[in-house]
């Protein structure tokens, strides 16, 4: 199958990212001649094991961890489940979890299904967010209890890009002797993450969000943290996660992290500027458009905008005609019948939630692409508004 990558204007990087050509090159030997099993005795496998070790070192370096604190998983979702279920098993008397109302389904649905999964009753506190998507630290402080097994709060929100005060929240949890997990899937590679300076116990990472392939994730487990494996089986990952390593993707992820150490600067300058230009342009040229999420405390690549009186899927399909790729928080695109739980938690009215579009950029986007999108969007929105029974021409 061939995909016409050249003609696509890809602005959906929070959904997934392009695998860097350098990463592909780094992976190729492990998809061709270097196919040994890293656990094997013979050199043919052993040398592959060294490549995995080197990748682990690069990943640890990016996030300020020690190599022994890194285990490889299949994805961010597996890392999330591993951390939370481990805490519950390590402290079987504690049945309380503190999380937020805007977590990714990987955390949200896990917490909601814990009772059925484990056969025990749990208490889940979901911290509220304000209309700018931020948390209330007093509410958080009051929620922590003797019964709390773990706190799980995402570092940066996938829909709005809003960043949570992880350093402070982790410290507050530590002061109470409570484990702290953060789903940092959207943050790693976009903003600096330095675990040496934080009291975070568990951190989830996902390869395909930072230009590595899909199918590989990382769970950081702070040295000394009580840990119960999720996937048991072989002795891989020091007995912490069974299963033959996804060698090629792990090596790819290592390369991607090496590149990210250099490109984080670019994300926060050039890419942020492109995002700002896009956002500014859309908000000024299109009437009745509003930004969802805090303007300052958010990822440099994300903008989530609601266009009132029109619907998200319809907008995306018109954009699709111009090969512009983005995503939406509308009900029709969510797979269920309800609009994004994140926007609803922020109190975004239904009238706006259904017409929300998320643009998430990367280092691969250009200014010409931004200009093209700014050229096409006003027409798309106005032609859909002409169809809408709610839009009255001023």
């Amino acid at each position: 199958m061939e995909c016409d990558e050249k003609s696509v204007i890809y602005m959906d990087n929070n959904a997934t990212t392009k695998v860097s050509p350098e990463v592909v090159d780094a992976m190729m030997p492990f998809l061709t001649g270097c196919y040994g099993n890293p656990s094997s005795m013979h050199n043919f496998g052993g040398q592959v094991g060294l490549a995995v070790k080197e990748a682990r070192r690069k990943i640890a370096s990016l996030i300020g961890a020690d190599t022994e604190e890194i285990i490889f998983t299949s994805c961010g979702t597996e890392s999330d489940s591993t951390a939370i279920l481990s805490a519950l098993q390590a402290f079987p008397d504690k049945r309380h979890i503190v999380t937020t109302r805007v977590e990714h389904p990987a955390v949200k649905n896990l917490c909601e299904n814990l009772d059925t999964l484990t056969g025990h009753k749990h208490r889940i506190t979901k911290l509220k967010v304000g209309d700018d998507g931020r948390l209330d630290l007093d509410e958080y402080r009051d929620a922590l209890s003797e019964d709390t097994a773990i706190v799980s709060v995402m570092w940066a929100n996938n829909e709005t890009g809003v960043i949570f005060p992880i350093a402070e929240m982790a410290r507050m949890a530590k002061d109470r002797g409570i484990l702290f997990h953060t789903d940092a899937v959207q943050a790693v590679g976009k903003i600096p993450v330095n675990l040496k300076e934080l009291d975070v116990d568990f951190l989830s990472m996902s390869g395909h969000k930072l230009h590595a392939p899909k199918g590989v994730g990382v769970l950081y487990i702070r040295r000394g943290t009580p840990f119960v494996p999720f996937l048991t089986g072989g002795h891989q990952e020091g007995g912490r996660r069974g299963g033959t390593e996804n060698v090629a993707s792990i090596v790819g992820l290592g390369k991607a992290c090496e590149i990210a150490e250099r490109s984080i600067e670019i994300e926060n300058t050039r890419v942020a500027e492109l995002r700002d230009k896009l956002e500014e342009g859309l908000l000024t040229t299109i009437p009745k458009a509003r930004l969802n999420g805090h303007k300052m405390e958010r990822l440099p690549n994300t903008t989530n905008i609601s266009f009132e009186f029109v619907e998200g899927e319809a907008i995306l399909l018109h954009m699709n005609e111009f090969n512009i790729c983005a995503s939406s928080g509308s009900a029709c695109t969510s797979g269920s019948l309800e609009p994004s739980h994140v926007l609803r938690a922020m109190g975004v009215p239904f009238t706006a939630a259904h017409g929300s579009i998320r643009f998430s950029l990367s280092v691969y986007n250009t200014e010409q692409e931004i200009d093209f999108v700014l050229e096409k969007m006003p027409n798309i929105i106005s032609s859909l508004r002409e169809l809408s029974p709610f839009w009255q021409e001023a």
Binding site: V310, L317, H354, L387, S388, P389
Partner: protein, 280 residues
């Protein structure tokens, strides 16, 4: 991610009959911004009761827009009495089919048409008499029953696909199941739709008592007729340990008795996961 037919794409990208008729003979407005779907249909009807023109305005996804567009094309030139017979299936068919999760968009088209015709005739919609069962999406029991009957729906999931009911908080699921049975009753399909019986978890004591009851009442008398007997030895989880006595003990068919008769009876009357074994 939805697989849309060429016709849906065509009607979505280049919709027909967009707008509002001035001083229309009939207006139908359904849905809302909150729902994520809304349609305003206006009709021009002449003295011969023929719909000479129809226009629409829609807030919604590609399926909603396409459904509205194709609907107006279908009814233009129809007599009102014929238009009243147009169903959501007709709309979906005219589009070459819709993904099942989007069928409710075609239902919305039909509802707008109905509302417009009722407006023209000056009558209150019979559907308006219904009682809301799904609070998230404001769906009434009459709407659910009609969808079930007309589109031959066989599950709560299908009801959600066609009406959105049950797609939000899920609290109305039991009521929907009830309506599903009601709608099908009398056609024999009611047999197939069994309510999900939430088996209350029995304590071990309750389980033992029930097992003893069934053994006393039914199993023992039957075995005793043939000179045999049975005794309950122990209950461990789903395992029921029994001891066969009298002629049963030496009977070649004892295993068959245990499984085909005793286990079957206990599964029927106590708990369907029980396993009967002979105590060693």
């Amino acid at each position: 991610m939805w697989e849309y037919t060429d016709k849906v794409q065509q009607h979505f990208l280049h919709p027909l009959n967009v707008g509002e008729i001035e001083n229309p003979e009939g207006t139908g407005e359904v849905g809302s911004l909150a729902c994520g779907d809304a349609l305003k249909l206006t009709l021009r009807i002449n003295e011969d009761e023929v719909i000479t023109d129809a226009k629409f305005k829609t807030f919604g996804c590609a399926s909603a827009i396409a459904s509205s567009s194709v609907l107006t094309e279908l009814i233009k030139g129809m007599k009102v009495s014929d238009a009243a017979k147009v169903t959501n299936e007709d709309i979906a068919e005219a589009l070459g089919g819709l993904p099942k999760e989007k069928m409710h968009c075609s239902v919305m088209g039909r509802e707008a048409l109905e509302a417009a015709i009722a407006d023209y005739r000056g009558v209150i919609l019979p559907m308006a008499e219904g009682e809301v069962v799904c609070e998230c999406f404001g769906v009434t029991d009459l709407e659910v029953i009609r969808a079930v009957k007309e589109s031959d729906l066989k599950s709560v999931e299908e009801i959600t696909n066609f009406t959105k009911a049950g797609g939000g908080c899920g609290k109305c699921e039991d009521k929907l199941r009830e309506l599903l049975r009601e709608a099908h009753s009398g056609t024999g399909i009611a047999e197939m739709i069994k309510p999900v019986e939430k088996q209350a978890k029995m304590t071990v004591l309750q389980k033992i008592k029930k097992i003893e009851e069934v053994l006393e009442r039914e199993v023992k008398p039957a075995l005793r007729k043939d000179g045999g007997d049975i005794e309950l030895v122990d209950v461990d989880g789903d395992f029921v340990m029994v001891s066969l006595r009298g002629s049963c003990k030496s009977c070649a068919k004892s295993q068959m008795t245990l499984k085909e008769y005793v286990e079957k009876k206990l599964r029927e009357q106590v708990l369907e996961t029980l396993i009967v074994e002979e105590a060693k």
